[in-house]
Amino acid sequence: MINRIELLKLVEHNARIKIEDLAVMLNASSEEISAELEACKKENVILGYNTMINWEKTEREEVTALIEVRITPQRNQGFDKIASQFYRYPQVSSCYLMSGGFDLMLIIEDSTLREVANFVSEKIAPLEGVLSTSTHFILKKYKSNGTLFTQKQTDDREAIVL
C-alpha cells in the first residue's frame, strides 16, 4: 500500500523525479506508482507540475505584488462570486480567502510596477462590492514554497568518519 502523503511530498519537492526511483524509494512497483499518481490527477489532488524559478537571476523586470482586498459578501454567493472575478485574470497567480483584517489575498506575478498599479486601480478597486485594497510589493525572495533562494550549503564533512 503506497503512502499517498509521502508520495505527494516527494513529487511536490521534485516533480521530475523518475517513476522507477519513486518505486524503489516507496517499496512499490512502477505500475503502482503510476496508477497512484494518475488517481491523484483524476481526483484533482495533483493539479500540475511547476518549476521553481529564481526570476531575479534572469533579465525579467516583473514584480510580485500581494493585494489585500476587503469586500462585501454577496447574497447566496458569499465571497465566491467576487473571488472568481479576480482569479480569472491570468496575472493573478494565487487567490485566497483569508481570516482576519481583510477578505481576499491576491498574488500578482508576471507584471511590471505600472501594470500592477493599473490593474488595482482599474480592475480591482472600482468593482462593486470592493471596500478597499492595500498593495504590497515583494522586495526580495528568501524562501518560497519550501525552497531557499540563497546559495545551498556545501557538504563540509570529513570524507570518512567511523
Partner: protein, 398 residues
C-alpha cells in the same frame, strides 16, 4: 640526545593497534573534493533549526557557565520524559541520568568506573571502533563474539553463553548497529535476557545511539525494557545520530543510581560538565524534536531502499539492514580483500566507502556503505558500483 618517545608512552596505549586502514583514510580525505563519499558515520542533515535556535538563544541570554557535573536538572528531566515517551524507559532524572560528551564519553566512563584490571567485556564484532579501545584503555580484556551475516548480525544466545566466564564484567550491545545496520527485536532480546538472568553478576551496556533510526515499523526495543535486567543495564544514548547533532558533542547514560554516581565521579574529574550550549539545545530536541526526527527517518528509509536495490542490481549480496544508516554488503567471490576493493573503487570510480575490516577482523569480506548522503549522490554511487562490480567480474573471468 634523542628522546625515545615511544618508550615513554604507556604500554596500554602503545598496545592499541594503529588502524590498519589509516593509509586508505588519508587517501580518501586527500581526494575529498572529487569523490562521492558514502563513508561517513554522521548525518548529512544539519541540526534542525529549532534546536540550533534554542542553543543560540541560550548564548544570547548569557548561559555560558559550567553546568552541574551531572547536567542541568532541566535537561535531565527533558531526557527522562523523552525516554519514557519514546522507549518506555523510566529513569529518575535526579539520580539515574548523567549528561555526557556524546555517547563516546559514556562508553569510556563505564569502562573506567566498572573494570578492574583483567575483567572481561564481551563485545560483538563487527562493531563501532570505540568499544574495544575503551575496554583496553581501562585495562580490561575485550572478548569478541563474531556475529554473522546469516544470523543478520544478531547476537545468538549460544554464542553469548559460550563467551561468558567468571571474569565477565559486562557485555556491550550495539543495536541498531554500526556498521551492519542490524537491529534486534524484543523477541531476540528476550532470548539474551534468559541467558543473562542465569548470570546475575553480568551487566549490560546497551548502546542505543541509533534507536530512533529503526525501519522495522515497530517501536525499537531496549533490553532495559525487561524488568529482570533493568537494574543491571546502562543505556547509552545521545543526540548525534537521531537529531543530527554530532558536532554539539552531547549524549547521556541512564542506569542504576549507584553506578551513575560512580560514573559521575570520573566525569567530574576529566570533563567537569557537558557543553552548556548543547544542553540548552537538547531540551528543545527532547520536547519538540519528534517531527524533525520522523522526517529524517523517512528520508533515510527511502535512501535505504535505494541502496538495497542498488546493491541487488550490482550483484552484491546484502542482508536487509533495518536500522542506523548503513548497509554492509558482502564482496566475497570478487577476488579482492575489502581494503583492496575500497581502494580500487575509490581510485577507479571516485566513490569512498569503508572496508569492513575497520570494524573487526570478521568484517573482512564486507564493506560499509553509509546512506547519510544525498539521494543524488547515492543513486550516482550505486550506478558506479554496478559498473565497478561488473568490470571486476568480467576481469576475473578473463
Amino acid at each position: 640526545m634523542e628522546i625515545d618517545y615511544q618508550s615513554k608512552i604507556s604500554t596500554v596505549v602503545n598496545n592499541i593497534a594503529p588502524s590498519a586502514i589509516r593509509r586508505f583514510f588519508d587517501l580518501a580525505n586527500e581526494m575529498k573534493e572529487e569523490v562521492i563519499s558514502l563513508s561517513i558515520g554522521e548525518p548529512d542533515f544539519v541540526t534542525p533549526w529549532s534546536i540550533r535556535e534554542a542553543g543560540i538563544f541560550s548564548l544570547e541570554d548569557g548561559y555560558t557557565h559550567y553546568s552541574p557535573n551531572q547536567g542541568y536538572i532541566e535537561v535531565r528531566k527533558a531526557i527522562s520524559e523523552y525516554l519514557e515517551r519514546r522507549f518506555d524507559l523510566k529513569y529518575d532524572p535526579k539520580k539515574q541520568l548523567l549528561v555526557t560528551v556524546g555517547g563516546s564519553e559514556a562508553l569510556d566512563l563505564i569502562a573506567r568506573a566498572l573494570i578492574n584490571p583483567g575483567d572481561e567485556v564481551i563485545i560483538l564484532e563487527p562493531c563501532f571502533v570505540a568499544y574495544k579501545a575503551t575496554v583496553t584503555l581501562a585495562h580490561g580484556v575485550p572478548v569478541v563474539i563474531e556475529t554473522k551475516e546469516e544470523d543478520e548480525y544478531k547476537l545468538k544466545p549460544e554464542a553469548l553463553e559460550a563467551a561468558i566466564t567468571d571474569k565477565t564484567k559486562y557485555i556491550i550491545l550495539g543495536y541498531p548497529g554500526n556498521p551492519t545496520g542490524a537491529t534486534m527485536t524484543k523477541e531476540d532480546l528476550s532470548k539474551i535476557k534468559d541467558i543473562l538472568v542465569r548470570h546475575p553478576d553480568i551487566f549490560v551496556v546497551s548502546d542505543e545511539l541509533y534507536s530512533e533510526l529503526s525501519y522495522t515499523g515497530e517501536k525499537p526495543a531496549s533490553i532495559a525494557n525487561f524488568p529482570e535486567l533493568y537494574d543491571r543495564t546502562i543505556v547509552v544514548n545521545g543526540f548525534s545520530k537521531s537529531f543530527a547533532m554530532t558536532g554539539w558533542r552531547i549524549g547521556y547514560m541512564a542506569g542504576p543510581a549507584p553506578l551513575i554516581a560512580a560514573m559521575n565521579k570520573v566525569h567530574q574529574y576529566c570533563i567537569m560538565s557537558s557543553p552548556t550550549t548543547a544542553q540548552y539545545a537538547v531540551i528543545e530536541a527532547c520536547r519538540n524534536g519528534d517531527k524533525d526526527v520522523e522526517e529524517m527517518r523517512d528520508e533515510y528509509n527511502r535512501r535505504r531502499r535505494v541502496i538495497i536495490n542498488g546493491l541487488k542490481e550490482a550483484g552484491l549480496s546484502c542482508f536487509d539492514p533495518t536500522g542506523a544508516f548503513y548497509a554492509f554488503p558482502s564482496i566475497e567471490g570478487l577476488g579482492l580483500t575489502c581494503e583492496e576493493f575500497c581502494e580500487r573503487f575509490l581510485m577507479e570510480k571516485k566513490v569512498a566507502i569503508v572496508p569492513g575490516s575497520a570494524f573487526g577482523k570478521c568484517g573482512e569480506g564486507h564493506v560499509r556503505i553509509s546512506y547519510a548522503a544525498s539521494m543524488e549522490n547515492i543513486q550516482e554511487a550505486m550506478r558506479r558500483l554496478k559498473e565497478f562490480v561488473t568490470e571486476l567480474k568480467n576481469g576475473s573471468k578473463e
